[in-house]
Every structure is written in C-alpha cells, then in structure tokens.
C-alpha cells in the first residue's frame, strides 16, 4: 500500500513504538530509505546482497531502539537510519578484516547523533548469536515462545492455536522452553554481556 509511504516521522515512530501497523510501517521504511542506504553500501565496497543484509539489521536495530525509547527524534528517521547503516557496515567491514582507513577518518568527523548510533549497534555479533540460538530451538518451543512473547497471545489463544490438552500443559511447556533457551544462551559465557545488552539497549 502506498498510503503509508509518506507518513511523517512522528507517526511512523509512534506506530513502531506501539507495535501498531507494523507490516506497513516496516514497508514504509523500505520504500523511503532502502535505495539510498543500499547505494551507500554499494559505493563503499559492498554488494547488493551486503546492502540487503545490512538494511534488515538496520531496521531491526531501529525498531528495537524505538520500542525501548532510545530513539527520541533528535534527528530525522532518515539521518538516524543512515547513521545506523554506516556504522553497521563499517562494523561488518572490520569484522571481515578489511576496514577502510578513509571511512574511519570520515567516521571520526561525524556529529554526536551518529556516534550514538554507533553505540547502539555495539555487540551486533552477540545479539546475532543470541537470536540465532532462538532459531535453534525445536519448532514447538520456538512457536510457543514466539506466540506468547512476540505475538502477545494469551495461554488460551495459544491452546486454541496449537491444540494442547489444557492451558496448564501449555504453561508447563512454555516454562520448559524458556528455561531451555536460557540455558542454551547462558552456557556460553561470552553471551552473558549480550543478554544484558538486550535488556539495556
């Protein structure tokens, strides 16, 4: 739908913060910003696929920050996304062991807002590892946890969706699944800080 394409920043951010019209709000981010951010990466040693991967990460970080009230509208969405995009890409280049000296110099000259954006994407590898572990859960566990914690469904709604015997069975299953995931994460000591970062942004 084109309707949401020209949403003012304030409305777009309000929607994302409230989890309202999420699909259309994310599409609006793509329609309004993907091409320019893609262009930046493709002009700085990246491929189209790199640009796509980074953009997904940028959108994820942005929504996460908005929902944790870390984006206060001190810069425009465009500026903020650009900054996230650049820092994410530089971080990725460094990870690949071929950081661009020229880009680093450029990075040092940027304004305060952009340095903040750099801070926000800190520990992107840790976060990626944590979410990867969620994906490694069994199908049933992953589904129950997502329905409850992401889709905000009640136990009764989950019961109707997954056809368990009763709510208590679902509750017990959810307990076990959450505990299992927690153990999968905490048994990797290097992810302890990543887990804290998820809480505090």
């Amino acid at each position: 739908m084109e309707l949401i394409r020209n949403l003012p920043d304030t409305e777009l951010v309000a929607n994302l913060r409230a989890g309202k019209s999420m699909d259309e709000s994310i599409k609006a981010l793509y329609r309004n910003h993907f091409e320019s951010l893609c262009w930046y990466i493709m002009n700085n040693s990246g491929s189209r696929q790199d640009a796509e991967d980074v953009f997904q990460e940028v959108v994820l970080s942005f929504i996460d920050l908005v929902q944790k009230d870390k984006f206060r509208g001190e810069s425009t969405v465009k500026t903020f996304l650009f900054s996230l995009n650049r820092h994410t890409w530089l971080n990725e280049l460094k990870r690949r062991g071929r950081a661009l000296v020229r880009e680093e110099k450029y990075e040092r000259g940027q304004e305060r807002t952009e340095l903040d954006a750099g801070h926000y994407i800190a520990d992107r590898e840790g976060k990626a590892e944590v979410t990867r572990l969620v994906g490694e859960l069994g199908d049933t566990c992953r589904k129950i946890l997502l329905l409850f914690y992401y889709e905000n469904l009640s136990m009764r709604e989950i019961l109707e969706t997954l056809h368990y015997e009763n709510e208590q069975v679902v509750r017990n299953k959810k307990y076990k699944c959450l505990k299992q995931l927690e153990q999968m994460i905490t048994e990797k000591p290097y992810l302890k800080q990543s887990l804290k970062n998820l809480l505090h942004g």
Binding site: K27, E52, E151, L195, K196, L199
Partner: protein, 255 residues
C-alpha cells in the same frame, strides 16, 4: 550453571509475564535485592524473553524484506542500440516539432492584415508602363507628384476616363489607406477590360485588388483572386503569390 530452584524460576517467569500477585511480587523483589543469584537468574530470563522478541521481529522483517525486494527490484531494462536510435530520433523529431509549433504560434500571434499587406505591397512605378512618345495625362502627372487626392478627384469627376485613371485612382486610394475605394477602382479596371474585351493593366489591377482585399479583411475574396493568379503561369504577378502568402491569408481567417 543454574543455581536457582524450580520454584524461584517459576515465580520469576510469572513476574516477567505479569501474572504474579502483588504480595508475591514484592516478596520476590526483596529476594532479588538480597540474592545476586536470583537477580542474575531474573536478568537472564528477562534477557531471554528479549531475545525471543528480537527473533520474532527479525523473522517479520525477513518476510517483509523478501516481499519488498520483489517490489523494489524493478528489473533495469536494457535498451538495444536500435531502440536507442529510435528513441533519440523521436526525441529530435519532437524537439523539431516543438520548435516549428513555437515559430508557427509566434507567427500566428504576430500576424495581421496590415503586416501581410506591407510585406507584399510595393509602390507602383508608373514609368514602367508608358510607351515612348505617349503624352502624360493629368492623373498620371498627379500620381507622379504623389498628389493622390487629385488623382482620385480626376477619376471621380470623369475628366479622364479609362483603365489607367481607374488603376491610378486605385493605387492612390491604397496610399491613402482607403481600402474600399481602392477595391472599387481596381474592379472598375477589370470590368472596363471585360466590356472593351481588353487586358489593359488587368494583371496589375488583379494583384493590387487582392492586396486591397487582404487589408480590408475580405480574406475569401483575396484567396479566390490569389488562387486565380497562382494558377496562371503567364500572369505578370504569378511569382508574387507564394505558398507562404496563401498560408498567411488562410491563417488570418482564424484570427
């Protein structure tokens, strides 16, 4: 290592889920403040639920991403050399057409009967028509002296009848901007010739009559006469009636 008891973990999860009764919640928070192991467990569980939310969002973005890539990645159409040439040719043709239309529009805007008349009228030199040894008439003398009113008076009082006086009276009327009088005089020349089965000053009268019609805004009469001159290769003024002049008069009809 998991140091918490199942009961505590269950309470912590209920707290995260927002279903723990207020009294138990207060009790649990006190325990958390006093026991770092419980506090760690709380943070780990809370962080884990955040990881689930982030994963959910990541999956949603991934789904939308695939949809948006289809929408945004409109294939770049490559233009073949032939199509490029055709495209440039059309562009050039369109530009030329625009220029032509612009010039035509400008000319149409600037076009007026007086302008067309002035561009095609030339002063009639009398000496060109006289044979050697001919005596000069009063009307002719007055015309040479540019005494146009006198020429018209001579014509009107009938003291010098004939095609030459009629023709000179027509020319004098044009010089004095009296179009209807000029038309009358030139038509008299043609009528006299018809009656006397003569052709004296016939071509001259027709040409100047057509110009008189133009300036008098009688475009249909002008066009009819000009067509007659144009169709007659032996006409003295045949070459004067150009296609451009015909177009200008036709355009004048639409102003």
């Amino acid at each position: 290592m998991d140091n918490s008891t199942p009961d505590i973990t269950s309470l912590l999860i209920d707290h995260i889920d927002g279903v723990l009764p207020a009294t138990e919640k207060q009790q649990l928070e006190k325990q958390m403040a006093a026991d770092n192991i419980i506090k760690d467990e709380w943070e780990n569980l809370l962080g884990t639920t955040e990881a689930i939310k982030l994963y959910g969002l990541q999956q949603k973005i991934g789904t939308i991403h695939r949809e948006m890539m289809t929408e945004l990645q409109t294939p770049v159409r490559t233009i073949s050399p032939v199509r490029r040439i055709v495209r440039y040719s059309v562009a050039v043709a369109a530009s030329v057409l625009l220029v032509v239309l612009g010039i035509t529009g400008y000319n149409f805007y600037k076009l007026s009967p007086d302008k067309v008349f002035t561009e095609n009228y030339s002063f009639y030199e009398l000496s060109n028509t006289r044979g050697a040894g001919s005596s000069i008439t009063v009307a002719e003398k007055a015309y040479r002296e540019k005494n146009y009113k006198e020429v018209i008076n001579i014509h009107d009082n009938g003291s010098e009848a004939g095609q030459l006086t009629q023709f000179l009276a027509g020319l004098s009327s044009l010089e004095l901007d009296n179009n209807s009088k000029a038309i009358t005089c030139f038509k008299e020349v043609i009528e006299t010739n018809r009656q006397t089965n003569d052709k004296l000053l016939e071509d001259e009268a027709e040409y100047y009559l057509s110009l008189s019609y133009i300036r008098n805004r009688d475009y249909d009469y002008a066009l009819e006469l000009m067509k007659k001159i144009q169709d007659d290769p032996g006409h003295l003024y045949n070459e004067k009636i150009t296609g451009q002049l015909m177009r200008q008069v036709k355009l004048l009809k639409w102003r």
